[in-house]
Structure formats: C-alpha cells, structure tokens
Amino acid sequence: MNLKPATLQSIDEVITHYPVKRSATLPLLHLIQEDIGYLPPDTCEWVAAKLELQPINVLEVVTFYPMFRQKPIGRRHIKVCRTLSCALMGGYKTCEQFEKEFNTHRGEVSPDGEVTVDFVECLASCGTAPVVLIDDDLHEKVDCAKAKQLSDQIKAEAKKR
C-alpha cells in the first residue's frame, strides 16, 4: 500500500474514534479510496492487519458497497444523475454525450485515461435537472450542449498538462 503520509496520519487518528477497532473499517476504506482513487487488491489484507481482523472480514464490507471501487478510474470522475427528475429532463442523453465526447462507455476508463463516466442516483438537485457531478463540483442543467462545453474544458485542461 502506497499511501500518502497525511492519509496514514488520518487513518491512525480515525481508529481512535471508535470503542472497537473493527468499527473503523468503513472510514479506513474511504480514506484509502480518497487517496489512491480506488481500493487496490492488497487493501483488505492491509486494513485487516491494521484493525486486527481477518482479510475476509474486510472483503465482506468492500464487496457490499457499490461505491467502493476495486479497479482504477480515470483522472476525473463524471457522475451523471439518472434518478427520476434528471432522467425526465434528459440525463440519459447527457450521459451519452459525455460517452461520445470521450469515446468511452459508462463504467469504463476513457482511452486517454482522462475520465470515467458513470450513472449515479439522486444528487439532490432535482430543481436544476439534469445534474452532473464532476469530481466534487456540481454542474446544473447539463444538457447536451453544456455537456460538450464541459468536455471541451476538461480536454483543454488535459492538453495544458
């Protein structure tokens, strides 16, 4: 496990929040995913050793939550809402637009490694549907045109690097 010193520090700190170490399983997994972007294959053993558990106990948790990723994702995570309001307002079309822009398919990493497009459930901004969350930034009323504009922006930033 190649974790940043800051992450390791928060991990040690968060363990102290709970009466039994096992309770820190979920926060630890979150911290690791935040740091690395996904949960690498040796996560279960590492967390189990840290919390004095058996690896299977951690694997049970990892496989229960769909938002824990066991495979790497693109540099940015585009999360398109598909719950009722957004679906009615064209969320599916927005998603397809993103897929077309980055020549990818939902759930996969785009060929340039820049993004992963995913459908997610309600982002709690139904009044401005369809909405899209790119990493931690919420974008409202994202129709196909705005989706193209956002994509161009991402591509431009990628070129600058």
């Binding site: 058996q54 694997l59 049970e60 496989t63």
Partner: protein, 562 residues
C-alpha cells in the same frame, strides 16, 4: 464429590404443555424437551446465535398483569390468567425463556411465517436434489415437506452462482444451494479459530467464499460439511459416492488420539464410505478432526495383513516359538480394553514381561491430544502396565542384548519404530499380531493377522478416563481374525484358559478389576462412562488441554518439571 448446584428452573408453556427448563435455555431447546420441533437452519447448539434464517419464528406471550397494581389480570372465560400475545412472530433461537413465557408453535401466524421463509429460501435454490449429496439428510428438503407451502409461485429466473468452488483440499462448495445460514462461517471463526470464510457481494447475489488466496484447509474443515443444513458444502471425498439412505450407521470412536471423539461410521455392503462425528457434550460436542475421517481408508490398503493359513495352524506355530525361551510381550495402546486384558492374561501364562509403546505428538488444544494412542489408560486400568510407557523400548532392547529374552510377542507394535535395531530383531523370534505390514511383521516368525477398529467390538478409555465403546461396522477381510480370539488361543497354547467373546471377557473384567465391576459391554452408555481416575492421579500424562479436558494438576506439574 460435591453435587452440582441445581440450576435455576423456569416454567414455560409450549403449545399448552408446561415444562420447567434451566434459565438461559432458548425456545428451540425448551421445545425440544417437550418433543416439539421448531424448524431452524442457522441455529446450532454449539455455535453463537445470529438469528438470520428466520425459520424458527414462533408466537409468544406473557401472563398479563395490571400495569398499576401488578395484580394478575384474569380471563373470565377460562378463569386463568390472561396471556398477552405479542402480535408479531419472534425468533425462537434468540428468545431465552422467562418465567411464565407462553409459546405457540402451531398457530396460523407461525405457519404463515414458516411458509413465507421457506418460499424465500427456495426462490434461488436449484432443483438439483436428485443428484445432491445432501438429499436424505437435507434440512431444506425436510422442512419443505414439513412446513413449506407445497407449490411454487416463482416464475422468474433463478440466480446463477459458482457451482463447484474448491474451498480447500477437502471441501467443495456449491454456492447456488447455499441458504446463507452462516453456520460454517461461525464454526470457522469460533471453533476452528481459522476465520477464512465470509459472504461477499452481499445482497441478492450473496456468495459464500474464502478470501482469495486462502483456503479452508484446517484440520476441522469437514465439520462445516456436517453442519451445513443444505448441500452447499460437500465433502470432496464423499461427493457423488453414495446415497446416504443406503448407508448403515455404526457408532465408533476416533482412534487417532486419546481424546476419543465419538463418531458414526457409514457403511454399505462391507465398505465404509464416510465417518462423521457423533454428539457427545462431554467429549467432542458435535465435532471431529478431518484426519480421523480418513482412517477407514487403511482397511483396503495393499499392505493389509491376511493369511491363507487357519488361525489354529498359526497359533500352533506360535506355540512352538514360545518354547524357544523367555518371552517378552509388547502390548499396545491402540488395543481395546478387552484385548489389553487378554494380552495381560497371555503375558501371565507365558511368565513374560509386558511393555507398551507411547506415541507422543503435537496436540491442537481442540480434539487432537498429544497422546497418539487411544487407549493407554485402558492398559493402566486393566493392569497391563503399571507406569506410563516410554516411546522407545530400551528395557526390552537391553534384555535382548543380554540374551534374557528369546521370544517377543508384539500386539500390533512395530518394534523397529520403537527403537529396536534390525540386529536385535534378528536375535529373537517374533510373534506378531497386527493389521498392516511393517518391519516387525517382515521379521516375524509367525504373523497373526487381526482386525481394525472398524471390524470389531470393544472399548477404549480416553484421556478423561471415560470408558467408551465402539461397534463393528464392517466384516474383516478373509484371513484376518478377531484379536480377542487370537489372544485367547495364544493364551490357551501357553496354558491359560480365557474366554474370547466380548460378553465373557467383560464378566472376567468385572470380576477382576474393581474399577470396572458394575459394567458390561451391553449396558455401557453410548456416551461412555467415567471411571475412577484417582489411582492414576499421580501419573504424568502427556496430554495438554483440549476441548472438555484439563490435565490433572499433579500430572501437569510433573510434566512441567520433566
């Protein structure tokens, strides 16, 4: 002995029957006492309670009292105290009895609940009962018949899951059959202390699995197969070999070590197919080691000893050998109590010295003890030996070198393995009784083939000084004779008359050994009988702590000093 304190009893009413049960009993166990079956899957008396299968739902109520005055509220219709029934079903496994608890296990609500649970369990259960190894001993089958709704409303597609995962060297898993009771997970964690099993992808695709790269390989893995209520966990060895209802069950004892785990031997037409544990709450609970389940395979081994000669001819030859000079008898901690008794008689008739060979190995603190002989204590009780045996026959070796012993009778013990050199073996004439060929049988003048534990009746004394009996499961091979008959004939050849059948031997045992006085083979309970261990309290036995056994303080202290 101090009488155990009387446990606090609690009176409960189950389906109208009053019964007093110890405090802390749950409803399933209480109902069992009044012969009421509460169906269950996840509950196991020797594992922790999780209450996740929901099959044991019952209706319960408590006697009504006035909240203000605490006075009982009477029902004018019956003249008895009114019962406040809880309007929802409760799980029987997780409900401990309390005074006055009323339980209904046959009410319409309970019936509905059971049918509902059964329907959910069967939704994704494959219909491969015809080829399933569990068929005939499957709780899901039995409870479908007993408590299911009888017809299916399910028209959707069933889940597809892995069908033949190798969880370990001895256990195969069919995930589609799994009903997610988690008994195997709890067993691995709580009893075997090898927490490798778990559910992944929990939800509609919950899948039992081992952590990737790990295996369910501990020496108790096959117990998960025994406690699996369905055919999900199957023994790789027994898989697809035989329908269980064709098998004859014979009670036996695991002869691996001095723990003496109680077992059942499953056989058909003279062939053993599997060995499973038999519940004995004082010895092995409901478990046994995997290693003990494979012992029957030695029965058909190519090195099994048989003889074309009749026993009488062999005994006559042995009698000739006895005339060559002073005799030493090497008895065995693997012989039954009766055989050790006859060995002692034979030794007395031959005026021979007696010895035993000790086998000490590693104990695992559960059901494998350090003493690899199942019946050293039997030899002590019958008086075949007076002190604990050592691993090497140094005294015998010295006597042979000194020319004081010319003939050695070995009851199944490999003298070469017990420290005698080939030169020493060549100096003496050996009479060997045993089941399998070894260096001693090869060097022997006379070999008398005998029977294995699965082919005869008898008793062992385990590490707790518990006398336990085993019964014959299969007939012995042609050319092998019951040890008792061989020993009795040898004793007769040496000039002593002793009985060779179990009943008569037990009359002799009862007459000669006060510790065994009131016992006969027939009246010995299946769970065994504790003998008086006080005469042997000072002996430094090798066993460490195992399940339901703590070494005596005196013995442990001596062992620690040594």
């Amino acid at each position: 002995m101090i009488a155990p304190p009387k446990p606090d009893l609690v009176t409960v009413n189950i389906d109208g029957k009053e019964i007093a049960v110890p405090k802390g009993t749950n409803v399933i166990e209480a109902a069992r006492l009044v012969n009421v079956d509460v169906p269950h899957y996840c509950y196991h008396p020797k594992l922790s309670i999780v209450g996740n299968c929901r099959m044991c739902l019952i209706e319960m109520g408590m006697p009504a009292v006035d909240p203000a005055t605490k006075a009982p509220i009477m029902d004018p219709a019956t003249g008895k105290q009114k019962i406040n029934w809880i309007p929802r079903p409760q799980i029987g496994c997780g409900t401990n009895v309390s005074p006055g608890l009323h339980v209904k296990t046959t009410s319409p609500m309970v019936k509905d609940a059971r049918e509902g649970v059964m329907e959910f369990l069967l939704i994704n259960h494959p219909l491969d009962c015809p080829i399933c190894d569990q068929a005939g001993e499957c709780k899901l089958q039995e409870q479908s018949t007993g408590y299911g709704r009888g017809y299916s409303r399910f028209v959707e597609q069933k889940n597809v899951k892995p069908k033949r995962t190798q969880l370990g060297p001895r256990v195969t898993l069919d995930d589609e059959r799994c009903i997610l009771c988690s008994r195997c997970i709890r067993f691995s964690k709580e009893i075997a202390k090898d927490d490798v099993l778990g559910f992944v992808d929990r939800g509609s695709y919950s899948t039992l699995t081992c952590f990737p790269g790990k295996q369910l390989a501990n020496n108790y893995s096959l117990n998960t197969v025994d406690i699996c209520p369905v055919g999900a966990l199957t023994s790789t060895d027994f898989r697809f070999k035989m329908r269980v209802w064709f098998l004859k069950q014979t009670n036996s004892i695991d002869t691996e070590t001095s723990v003496g785990a109680n077992t059942v031997v499953w056989s058909r037409e003279g062939q053993i197919y599997r060995i499973t544990p038999r519940r004995n709450d004082d010895v092995n609970d409901t478990w046994m080691p995997d290693s003990g389940r494979e012992l029957f395979k030695a029965l058909k081994a190519p090195d099994r000893l048989t003889s074309a000669e009749t026993v009488d001819a062999l005994v006559a030859r042995a009698a000739e050998v006895f005339k060559q000079g002073p005799v030493a008898v090497v008895g065995s901690g693997r012989s039954s109590v009766e055989e050790q008794f006859l060995t002692k008689k034979l030794a007395a008739a031959l005026k021979a010295t007696t010895a035993l060979v000790s086998r000490v190995g590693q104990g695992d603190k559960l059901l494998v003890s350090a003493d690899k002989n199942p019946n050293v204590r039997g030899a002590l009780v019958t008086g075949l030996i007076a002190a604990l045996p050592s691993q090497k026959l140094t005294d015998l070796a010295a006597s042979i070198d000194a020319g004081k012993v010319k003939v050695v009778v070995s009851v199944g013990e490999d003298l070469a393995a017990a420290g005698l050199t080939a030169a020493q073996l060549a100096k003496v004439a050996i009479v060997y009784l045993g089941t399998h060929a070894n260096a001693t049988s090869a060097a022997a003048k006379v070999v008398l083939p005998t029977l294995s534990v699965f082919e005869k009746n008898g008793t062992f004394v385990n590490q707790q000084f518990r006398l336990q009996k085993f019964a014959q499961a299969v007939p012995g091979p042609q050319g092998a004779t019951n040890d008792l008959i061989v020993l009795a004939k040898l004793a007769a050849a040496a000039g002593a008359t002793v009985a060779s059948d179990l009943g008569s031997v037990w009359k002799l045992l009862a007459a000669e050994i006060p510790n065994l006085a009131p016992i006969t083979y027939a009246n010995l309970p299946e769970t065994g009988l504790l003998l008086d261990a006080t005469p042997f309290a000072a002996l430094p036995f090798v066993e460490g702590e195992t399940l339901h056994f703590k070494p005596a303080v005196a013995g442990a202290a001596v062992a620690a000093k040594a």
